[in-house]
């Protein structure tokens, strides 16, 4: 097990800066998820920690050791790739034991460790098979097994579930969470799937444009997003953003309104009267019906209804032609084009610059 410290970590490919200075502390045994849209630099950051990409600037410490120039094999890490990266000419047993056979681990110890990993992942019966004889989920297990066998200080996962079907992904997610509990190892996991991030992480690192946007526990990020990007990225369906104007400010509360919305008080710092702002409301906080005293209201016409059984996702176009999405926790039957009205508690809304 090991802790990590990233101090001003930078990566450039030629003149293009991919990682623009990342500072991060990862505690021993923590499950950290790097999340962000495609091209945000999350995989590059992971590969820099793995030693597969050179570090252009800053410092990377694994444990207390500066690892900028250390070879991957000496960093005490193991990595699970998106493509699994299993050696197709080797059996599952040999795939898992490859790292140990390279460092000349005695045969009995190698055998014991491979079998122990196979037992943890419930795949003792697959040891003699070749990767081509395995299903996607089984291959992923072998890739994880190969990492476990090496007993690394840090496990690195690069979008390990993205090649699996939806049902298998849920199963594997639970298995990974269990694995983390059982092994207690430091794990860094890259994904663009915010559900994976929310369900697995002790700590989420949201990245965009090569910069850390926010670091925090899943609920911290969900409840107190630092900016509009994080607010939009965490939570499904995506948070609604409506353009508003600040009418008055009193302490930490700003009174905001728009042409179609009456003034409401929302928490927000650093705003001045007349500032344009974005009012963020999560779809789950919109409730059908007219507002009662002090509540915000949104009106429009129904553009789309998705009935999922346990909930209904309703998209509404407002008079200002803004698309607002509401998630109602019951099944309701609504018709396209109908007028709809929603109310929300202003305390549940967010205000962004």
């Amino acid at each position: 097990m090991a802790s990590l410290r990233l101090a001003g970590l930078k990566k450039s490919f030629g003149a293009v800066d991919i990682i623009k200075g990342v500072n991060l502390e990862i505690k021993d045994g923590e499950f950290v998820v790097f999340v962000g849209p495609s091209g945000c630099g999350k995989s590059t950051l992971l590969r820099m920690i793995a030693g597969l990409e050179d570090i252009s600037g800053g410092e990377l410490y694994i444990g207390d050791r500066l690892c900028n120039e250390v070879q991957p094999r000496e960093r005490g890490i193991a990595m699970v790739f998106q493509s699994y990266a299993l050696y197709p000419h080797m059996t599952v047993y040999d795939n898992m034991g490859f790292g140990l056979s390279l460092n000349k681990t005695p045969k009995p110890e190698l055998d014991a460790r491979v079998r122990e990993a196979a037992r943890i992942l419930k795949m003792e019966h697959l040891l003699e098979r070749k990767p081509s004889q395995l299903s996607g989920g089984q291959r992923q297990r072998v890739a994880i097994g190969r990492a476990i066998v090496r007993k690394p200080g840090v496990f690195l996962f690069d979008e390990p579930l993205s090649n699996l079907d939806a049902a298998l992904r849920v199963d594997m997610r639970m298995e990974l969470a269990k694995l983390h509990r059982d092994l207690g190892a430091t794990m860094i996991y890259v994904t663009h799937d915010q559900i994976e991030a929310m369900t697995l992480a002790d700590k989420i690192v949201v990245l965009d444009g090569g910069l850390v946007q926010q670091v925090g526990s899943p609920m911290e990020l969900y409840k107190n997003p630092a900016n509009k990007f994080v607010a939009g990225f965490i939570g499904a369906p995506k948070m609604n953003f409506l353009p508003v104007k600040v009418q008055s400010v009193a302490g930490d509360t700003a009174m905001v309104a728009s042409d179609t919305m009456s003034p409401i008080p929302v928490k927000g710092r650093g705003f001045s009267v007349g500032d344009p702002a974005w009012l963020g409301i999560r779809p789950q906080f919109l409730k059908p019906g007219p507002p009662t005293d002090g509540e915000g209201a949104l009106r429009g016409r129904i553009a789309l209804v998705e009935r999922l059984g346990t909930e209904t996702i309703i998209a509404v176009d407002t008079a200002e032609n803004e698309r607002v999405v509401a998630a109602i926790p019951v099944d309701v039957e609504l018709a396209f084009g109908d007028a709809a009205e929603f109310q929300f508690n202003p305390q549940a809304a967010h205000l962004f610059h």
């Binding site: 094999r73 490859f98 390279l102 460092n103």
Partner: protein, 289 residues
Amino acid sequence: MNKITEVVPFLAPVQILILSVIVIPSFYVVWLSLHASSFGQSATFVGLQNYIKVLTDPAFLLALGNTVLIVIFAVHLELALGLGMALLFASGLPCRRVLLVAVLAPYAVSEVIAVAMWRFLFDPDVGPVTAMLTWLGLPMLDWSFEPSHALIMIGLLTIWLHLPFTFIILYAARLAIPKDLYEAARIDGAKPFDAFRRVTIPLLGPAIVVALLFRYIFAFRIFSEVWLMTQGGPARSTEVVAVYLYQEAFSFNAFGTAAATAWIMVLASLLLATGYVFLLRKQVAGNAH
């Protein structure tokens, strides 16, 4: 039944082509190899005499020896070079496109032109390469006089001519190995040589088998390089089996022995190919385990 009568006319052109170009001539050569035959003589049945005559002919044995030498040295050296170059190219060589054209160019050159070029380059009196070797204080290749030098020259020429073939097969196979595997190997603790030995070579195995098999067969029937360079001389000392066959058939008009030689070549090629394929498949399977 109806179906067969409908299908046969469509298949007939191919069948007729194969029959007339391969099957019938093959049987004719078998028949010929069992007869003594020359111009102006009717063929007389001699049984296996032709085969015995060829196999005990010192000229044939020398030709066979030369052919085997070329197969063993040229093909394996070529494979090593092709593999080295394929790995070098795959490792991200600068100016790769230009270099690729340069490496593949010999394959676009006609064998006749290639030999004419080499004859000039290595000319013992005026050849630029000879001049350079002399300038460097190295022994020159006296290929027009010294049989062993001539064989070395033929070997080098055949390697130069066919290297693009071996190279391109191995390069394509190397490019097909996913980058992830090397990254996984690096993380698993593999040094470059470990990755080469335990990842690259086993995964290139099938491509190596294919390249070797083709090159064994091509090299076993080598003709134009030798014929154009030395015509088997001096004193039949650089003859290879195909040149021996040509001499028997068209210089000495001994069609029976030439036909027997042809069949010996076919059988030897098959034997060679089968043996190597068997061995290498076993090796690949062994690595794969």
